[in-house]
């Protein structure tokens, strides 16, 4: 039985696992769905194929190498890769049981394992948010994260003439990676307006200094933009993508401060790919299944020791709110220490405070404006799996007078497709603001797909190898 089980091998999870060991946990298990730790942030090709200059692709690569080797060196820290956690069973007075299948992604005959931890740290990260607009489901429209993953993990460019659009500082590293894999970036279009950006980034600039590397990192990205003559536009957005079977052009419009397109400012830009990111949403399904209370913004609520509302369950990283790698590492240190019953290092607590403040400012600067809801017209597909349009959703909500998510899903089929609402969920919640009772589309008892055979196998063996 692991003392501490950590789910998620990104920066937060790695830090948590190591901190738990340092603070007295006798046995730590770290579960990671990919075939190496590092998460989306330090996403890289498999070890055998890493190029000697891998460090140029990442920020803090040495830090990653140090964390990973510390994990590998520690015999009482078991890192299980290709571990897909598909459900958690709540229990009274103890953290939930955690069920995983271990093996190839979406494979069959993966090996089931169930964990019975004394403390559980969830570090499942976030996924990108994309506001629906006409044509956003055309092939060639990618999330900015997809472009990043394909560049960093696969060394592939998503297109030759690429526009990057959305909101937030994450767009900038995506531009660097695209340039590195040989794409021509024709522009960056940021939705937040100049005044808001100045307020967010500029308020109390001396605080930015406390975040150390951040200012230097930003300067690095700006150098890339300058060197490649990439125009950076603020207060504007891609509000439509055009093409038959793939994207051929996009419409860029100027935005009002609340993100409504300004009539008459539309301009067409020819591209063969567009990368879109309007911030991130926590991947909260396991936390929800475990019974953790969420805040308004869909992030898991934690106290000053990263404890959730469920005894014995801790969380760290983007799951508690979007804050970037430094905050994730600091929270991981605190969560790991607390999960092991120890007292977190004061330095970790201090760093957490600094980077939280930084994250709050960024979140305010780049928050999605309510005008973004108007980008989707009635014919715009919102649920990409089942081709449900914004119009169908609005009509169904109106006709049925339904305020609940479940009836809405059953009438329209939104969220019932392959992705189970992972992509359209936030958009549906957002589009029907005021109509729908606040609900969580992320409520999903089966967190990742498991094959029926695997499920049958799980029930037959009642596999509980980790229970003494």
């Amino acid at each position: 039985m692991p003392d501490v089980l950590v789910v998620g091998g990104g920066p937060a999870g790695m830090a948590a696992a190591l901190a738990a060991r340092r603070h007295g946990a006798e046995h730590v298990v770290l579960l990671e769905a990919g075939d190496d730790v590092g998460g989306q942030y330090w996403r890289h090709p498999p070890a055998r194929h890493v190029d000697p200059d891998e460090g140029r692709w990442h920020h803090g690569w040495q830090r990653f190498l140090d964390l990973r080797s510390a994990l590998r060196r520690d015999p009482r820290c078991e890192v299980v890769t290709n571990a897909h956690v598909w459900s958690v069973d709540r229990r009274d007075g103890a953290p939930p049981l955690v069920h995983a299948v271990i093996g190839e992604v979406d494979g069959q005959a993966r090996v089931p394992r169930t964990f019975d931890p004394a403390a559980l740290v969830l570090a499942t990260g976030a996924q990108e948010r994309t506001l629906p607009f006409p044509g956003w489901d055309l092939p060639g429209v990618f999330t900015a994260g997809a472009a990043q993953a394909l560049a960093k993990g696969d060394r592939v460019a998503v297109g030759r003439r690429v526009l990057v659009t959305g909101s937030g500082p994450f767009l900038l590293p995506v531009v660097s990676s695209l340039v590195r894999v040989g794409a021509r970036v024709v522009g960056v279009v940021e939705a937040a307006g100049a005044a808001r950006l100045a307020r967010g980034w500029g308020a109390k600039p001396w605080r930015l200094a406390a975040t150390g590397g951040k200012a230097a990192e930003l300067a690095g990205y700006l150098r890339v933009l300058a060197a490649h003559r990439i125009p950076y536009r603020v207060g504007a957005a891609v509000v439509a993508a055009h093409g038959d079977d793939r994207v051929e052009a996009v419409t860029v419009a100027r935005l009002t401060p609340d993100w409504s397109p300004v009539p008459g400012t539309q301009r067409r830009v020819e591209v063969d790919a567009v990368c879109v990111g309007h911030g991130f949403v926590p991947r909260a399904e396991l936390a929800i299944s475990a019974g953790c209370a969420l805040g308004e913004d869909g992030a898991v609520e934690v106290d000053d020791r990263q404890r959730t509302s469920v005894p014995g369950v801790f969380t760290a990283g983007e799951l508690t709110g979007i804050g970037g790698v430094d905050l994730a590492l600091a929270e991981g240190l605190v969560a790991g220490a607390a999960a092991a019953g120890g007292e977190p290092a004061p330095a970790a607590l201090r760093r957490r405070a600094v980077f939280r403040e930084f994250a709050t400012r960024l979140a305010a600067a780049h928050a999605v404006g309510p005008g973004g809801r108007s980008w989707a017209d009635d014919t715009t597909v919102v649920c990409r799996c089942e081709d449900v349009t914004a119009g169908a959703l609005r009509r169904a909500a109106e006709l049925t007078g339904s305020k609940g998510l479940r009836p809405l899903k059953l009438t329209t089929r939104a969220g019932l497709g392959l992705c189970q609402g992972r992509t359209c969920g936030p958009a549906v919640e957002d589009l029907l603001t005021g109509v729908l009772d606040p609900g969580r589309t992320a409520h999903r008892p089966i967190a990742v797909p498991v094959r029926l055979g695997e499920l049958a196998d799980h029930n037959r063996t009642g596999n509980r190898e980790d229970v003494p």
Binding site: P45, T143, L150
Partner: protein, 85 residues
């Protein structure tokens, strides 16, 4: 760097070892390889395994996320269609 070779609907496709099946498909110039129930084309969207736009059949097994599965030498990839509405 080592190369891998897979078959996509019967035609050979080559890529670098370690690349995902999605990356191999993209590198051959394909941007979409699936259609939804109403016939809209889909390829990679999220790239991190959450949208399921990219699913393919690998060695006879349906619904494998091409962006998450690394291509292995000799993989037989078939493009799959959703059941039509």
């Amino acid at each position: 760097m080592t190369r891998v070779r897979i078959e996509v609907d019967g035609s050979p496709v080559e890529g670098l070892a370690g690349q995902s099946i999605a990356a191999l498909l993209l590198a051959t110039g394909r941007t979409s390889w699936r259609r939804t129930r109403t016939g809209r084309p889909r390829g990679v969207f999220c790239g991190i395994g959450t949208c399921f736009d990219c699913v393919v059949t690998v060695n006879g097994l349906r619904d494998v996320r091409a962006c998450q599965r690394r291509a292995a030498d000799g993989d037989l990839v078939e493009l799959q269609e959703d059941d039509r509405a």
